[in-house]
């Protein structure tokens, strides 16, 4: 998944708003209120009962305002050192469009959507991050479901002839080139793909691929590492953003050594946090987790350049006999783009062992 990470959307939306309506400054509108100011009144809104459709849902959803493709990987170098990496591509629409309708003429340099891509590598306590931007509708950035491809400039994730996905990214002084083998079926969150994001029913369409085998090369500062490991892929789209008062987001995607997978998130808000998750058993049985079935607590904060960040958490899910700590390795893992957020690999210790990724926004 990533994010319902408002800051990201916020940054992108700010940029888009700046382009289209200079009168509204992003600062003057609360982030949760931004959605109402984006033009286009006919965006489709996900609701309980909506169904996922494949392979179409791997492609873009022009009737929705925001969506993203997101991949994290917990890899190991040949020397056995852990290496984490992330890639995300966002699409922020300014106008809703019928998927079957005519696409805007590229020669008009249309501004119906903006794209943003993030990529990061975390290794030996260091963090590399890069950001790219593009307008939609001119071919510089886009996504297709069949054949599957998501691209922005020379960054892309696309299906190759052997059926594997290939993810190629390069930043300043670093790059990666990965091949992703997909095992298992997509996991629909919230039971059937509708993932609520507040008690009052707003939400998004959300599914994940939780069994990804990844291998490839990562080059950092001229040194190339052969890497392999497991990954997690998210697709999520929506139109209605979070409600006013929601301050930020803590999100986890964990691979447990028991073979279980856990996605869990918390939306922080003044009147009580909204907690939700999905437990996937080794048999790939999907069990939605409600707020009353689990607890999430901060164990330790870390003082970083951009403020205090909770880097160690305690998760307790009595129904799954899960009672463990999740912690980030030493280092600072800020994705320092238009709007900074924390994106780090994590390790799991306690009732379960494992690894995964953690995304923290609004700190």
């Amino acid at each position: 998944m990533t994010c319902f990470s408002q800051p990201l959307r916020w940054g992108l939306t700010a940029l888009v708003l700046g382009l289209t309506a200079c009168s509204e400054t992003p600062e003057s509108a609360g982030f949760a209120g931004l959605g109402e100011q984006v033009r286009g009144e006919t965006f489709a809104q996900p609701a309980r009962g909506d169904r996922l459709r494949f392979p179409e849902d791997f492609g873009p959803h022009p009737r929705h305002r925001i969506e993203w493709w997101y991949l994290t990987a917990n890899l190991t170098t040949e020397q056995g050192e852990p290496l984490g990496l992330q890639w995300t591509q966002f699409r922020q629409a300014l106008e809703a469009r019928d998927p079957g309708g005519p696409e805007p003429e590229p020669g008009t340099w249309p501004l119906d959507a903006a794209w943003m891509a993030h990529a990061a590598v975390s290794f030996q306590g260091q963090h590399w991050f890069s950001e790219k931007l593009a307008r939609g509708g001119i071919g510089q950035a886009g996504a297709t479901a069949e054949p599957f491809e998501v691209w922005l400039d020379d960054w892309h994730m696309r299906v190759e002839d052997d059926g594997r996905w290939r993810l190629q990214v390069s930043g300043e002084g670093w790059s990666y080139d990965l091949r992703v083998t997909i095992e298992g079926e997509p996991v629909a969150h919230g039971g059937d793909g509708f993932s609520p994001k507040s008690a009052s029913g707003e939400g998004s369409m959300y599914f994940s691929l939780v069994d990804l085998a990844i291998e490839g090369e990562v080059t950092l500062g001229g040194q190339t590492f052969e890497v392999s490991g497991q990954g997690w892929f998210d697709r999520e789209w929506s139109s209605q953003f979070l409600k006013a008062g929601q301050q930020g987001w803590d999100w986890f995607a964990l691979h447990l050594e028991s073979g279980d997978k856990l996605m869990m998130f918390r939306l922080r808000e003044a009147g009580g946090d909204f907690l939700s998750g999905t437990w996937v058993t080794p048999e790939r049985e999907v069990i939605p987790l409600g707020a009353d079935t689990m607890t999430l607590e901060v164990v330790e904060q870390r003082d970083t350049a951009d403020g205090n960040v909770p880097v160690q958490w305690h998760i307790h899910i009595p129904g799954r006999q899960a009672d463990f700590d999740v912690s980030a390795p030493q280092g600072q893992y800020w994705n320092d783009g238009l709007f900074p957020y924390w994106e780090s690999p994590v390790s799991v210790t306690g009732s379960h062992q494992g690894e995964g990724y953690m995304e923290l926004t609004g700190y």
Partner: protein, 757 residues
């Protein structure tokens, strides 16, 4: 009581003097900060705009086709940092706008051409490329370029493309430089005036405190110690005073800056950016340095320059310097040389003026009666003792006179030119997709229609080889065509022309060029000029040179009949007087033949007011700076004059003791003060006129490419004179109040070392 507090006790008894000194430093700081803040902003904006138009490169297709959005996407997907740059030419007053894509320019970092940030996309001139594309779709002429950073090398470019140097606009380099140089010169002048004022107040303070100094010396305090204490005192006072000064200056600059932004935009298509590093430290340091230099420099520096210390030697030094400066300005080679000449003239005038005025005051006084003698002698003393504020006011008045004359001359010339150019009552833009011939045929079919002509604009290239002209260089110029050549244009005043210029132009046997092109390429009537027209090149004689104010581009005027069909017309419009017909009817007719319901029609007055607005903005800042300087100089002369007169109050009271009535004494004071300030105004006059001439006939042609007629405005001289006399009157009124109170005897005369004479 320490020596220091003894020194300071003077101000406890004379708070007015301290106030005057503090006020002067605050005002001076305010003036300088205001001006330098504005010039810094101008500099930053120009630097941005220069960066926007200089030293870029673009990618073009090997096959010669123009680049497209698909090429852009392809290049980006190849991993190249490319940004689109869609330049759209629209007819005045909108002018040129540039569509950029802030998403794409992100990879340029801070070097993005045009600083294409989201907050800069306000259409002045940058806007989002989608909007620019829409203008092109609606018929404006647009040119897409794909820019790459300067560090991209040829081997990184995909096969079907190659690198090419990219120039983003007219060569405004020299124009921008000159504008900055002008602002800098103004800033230096202001700093000079500031230093003069501070020094004068300080010196006055010294004279007033000589009693204290004498006393301290008698008590055995070494003179050097007193010097050091004075230095500390000045540093402390300046440090305190610069803070409100800087703050006020900033405030002032901010108030003026709003208008200034528009000035720059209209001049250079450059949006105004805030200046980084608005610290207090630098201006404070500059001001403290200036104050210290102004107050103490002579102790170390001037005394070592013997040619400046003697009275007679001022003449020996001043006169040759004045001559040299005048000569340098009269025959300038480059702009820098010209400025050095101006600086020399100012130095010489500053040195000579008090002496000359002092001499003039005593001129032919020998046979005069005792009272006249006293008046003249006293006046001479005032000129010498108040030399610094007198010179400061003289400079300020001269500056105001010159700038006023420049602005007014420009305004008049511009008005006249505009009136000629806007001879027609209405201007109808020809819609892009419409055939201009249909409109022309329609107008020809109308009876009762007044004068009209078709204007077509585009660009062309001067081809000197065609005309066998070795002096000229091949440059891109605007092409401006009119057909038919009729009464709407033949009334233009030409700067220079051959006989029958209009007839030759109408017959296609000659062209006219604007003043900028004529000056740059040294064209004179009769010279041949070679230029490209579509696919052909022509060589025709220049038959006339016309004035074309306010822009740097060269332009060629031709008769419409010689334009080939292949000429790429960027803009077409019809200028017409409806005659006996109703304009609405003509509009309707044109809309019908062109099959459009969106006809752009402007009337004469709307264009005129637009043009005037631009003009007003252009000179707002210059006016503001000069008025500010005048206010400061005037205030300082008022304060200084008052304080100085106060030191001589005893002597004016002697007149009263000797039997002149209060009224008579007041009359004498009034005469002295008004003669003093009036003489400053008179002394400023030649300097101001000379400066005006320098601005219009020397700086403007060198800097902007067009000159202005020299004009003088005696009405305004009178205003300045009245202002100066009012300052004098104010001094006299203040003095009269001063004399009403008891007057302390002055210090023993021999302590002053001749300071009173």
């Amino acid at each position: 009581m320490t020596v220091f507090s003894a020194l300071l006790s003077h101000y406890r008894r004379h708070p007015l003097q301290l106030l005057a000194l503090a006020l002067m430093i605050v005002l001076a700081t305010m003036l300088w900060t205001g001006v330098s803040h504005l010039t810094d902003r101008a500099r930053a904006s120009l630097a941005q705009s220069e960066r926007a138009i200089a030293g870029q490169q673009e990618l073009v297709r090997e096959d010669g086709q123009s680049v497209s959005v698909q090429d852009f996407a392809y290049l980006r997907r190849q991993g190249l940092c490319v940004m689109p740059w869609l330049e759209v030419e629209r007819p005045a007053p909108e002018g040129r706008v540039i569509g950029v894509d802030p998403f794409a320019s992100a990879c340029f970092g801070n070097e993005a051409p045009g600083q294409a940030r989201v907050d800069a996309l306000n259409g002045e001139p940058f806007l989002d490329i989608a909007e620019a594309a829409e203008m092109v779709r609606q018929g404006s002429d647009g040119q897409l370029s794909l820019l790459v950073p300067v560090d991209v090398e040829a081997n990184a470019v995909p096969a079907a493309f190659r690198l090419k140097d990219f120039s983003m606009g007219p060569a405004t380099g020299e124009l921008g430089e000159s504008f900055l140089l002008n602002l800098d010169a103004l800033g230096v002048l202001v700093l000079l005036i500031t230093a003069l004022l501070v020094r004068s107040v300080y010196q006055l303070g010294l004279v007033q405190r000589r009693e204290s100094f004498a006393l301290l010396r008698r008590f055995g305090v070494p003179a050097a110690r007193v010097q050091v204490l004075l230095l500390i005192e000045m540093v402390a006072l300046t440090s305190v005073c610069v803070i409100p000064g800087i703050w006020l200056g900033r405030l002032l600059a901010e108030i003026l800056g709003g208008g200034f932004g528009q000035v720059l935009e209209s001049l250079f298509d450059a949006p105004l950016y805030a200046v980084a590093g608005d610290g207090f430290v630098l201006p404070a340091l500059v001001m403290v340095s200036v104050v210290l230099l102004a107050c103490f420099a002579d102790k170390r520096l001037l005394l070592r320059l013997p040619w400046l210390s003697g009275r007679q030697s001022v003449l020996w030094f001043g006169v040759p310097v004045l001559g040299l400066g005048l000569a340098m300005v009269a025959w300038p080679f480059i702009l820098g040389w010209l400025y050095v000449g101006i600086a020399l003239v100012f130095v010489a005038v500053g040195l000579l003026t008090p002496r000359v005025l002092s001499h003039v005051a005593q001129w032919g006084v020998e046979g005069a009666g005792a009272i006249t003698l006293w008046q003249r002698r006293e006046l001479a003393v005032l000129f010498r003792r108040l030399a610094l504020p007198v010179v400061a006011l003289q400079f300020a008045v001269a500056m105001v006179l010159a700038v006023q004359a420049l602005v007014t001359t420009f305004e008049d010339a511009f008005e006249q030119w505009l009136a000629q150019r806007l001879e027609a009552e209405f201007y109808v833009e020809v819609p892009a997709q419409s055939a201009v011939e249909d409109g022309v045929r329609y107008l020809e079919s109308l009876s009762g229609l007044g004068d009209w002509h078709l204007v077509q604009r585009g660009t062309t290239r001067v081809v000197p080889e065609m005309a066998g002209d070795d002096a000229a260089t091949s440059v891109e110029v605007d092409l401006f065509s009119i057909s038919p050549i009729g009464p709407l244009v033949t009334g233009w005043t030409l700067l220079d022309a051959t006989p029958d210029a209009w007839e030759k132009l109408a017959a296609g046997q000659g062209v006219m060029v604007n003043e900028q092109l004529a000056r740059r390429q040294e064209y004179q009537p009769g010279d041949p000029i070679g230029f490209a027209l579509g696919e052909q090149t022509l060589a025709l004689p220049v038959v006339g040179v016309y004035a074309d104010y306010g822009r740097p581009e060269g332009e060629i005027l031709v008769a419409g009949q010689i334009l080939p069909d292949t000429f790429n017309t960027r803009f077409q419009s019809l200028s017409l007087n409806p005659g006996t017909l109703a304009m609405a009817e003509i509009e309707q007719g044109l809309a019908t033949v062109w099959n459009t319901d969106q006809l752009t029609v402007r009337d004469n007055s709307s264009i005129r007011s637009l043009a005037s607005e631009v003009f007003d903005q252009t000179f707002l800042i210059t006016r503001a700076i000069t008025v500010l300087t005048l206010v400061l100089a005037g205030t300082s002369l008022l304060v200084m004059g008052w304080v100085f007169f106060t030191t001589r109050a005893w002597y004016y009271r002697l007149l009263f003791v000797w039997g002149l009535s209060r009224r008579e004494v007041a009359g004498q004071l009034r005469w002295l003060a008004m003669f003093l300030t009036g003489a400053v105004a008179v002394a400023a006059l030649p300097l101001g006129v000379w400066l005006t001439w320098t601005l219009v006939s020397r700086i403007n042609p060198l800097a902007f490419g067009w000159s202005l007629p020299m004009a003088v405005y005696p009405g305004f001289w009178l205003e300045m004179l009245v202002l100066c006399l009012a300052i004098g009157l104010a001094i006299a009124v203040l003095m009269r109040r001063q004399l009403g109170a008891g007057v302390a005897a002055p210090a023993v005369a021999n302590v002053s070392g001749g300071g009173e004479r």
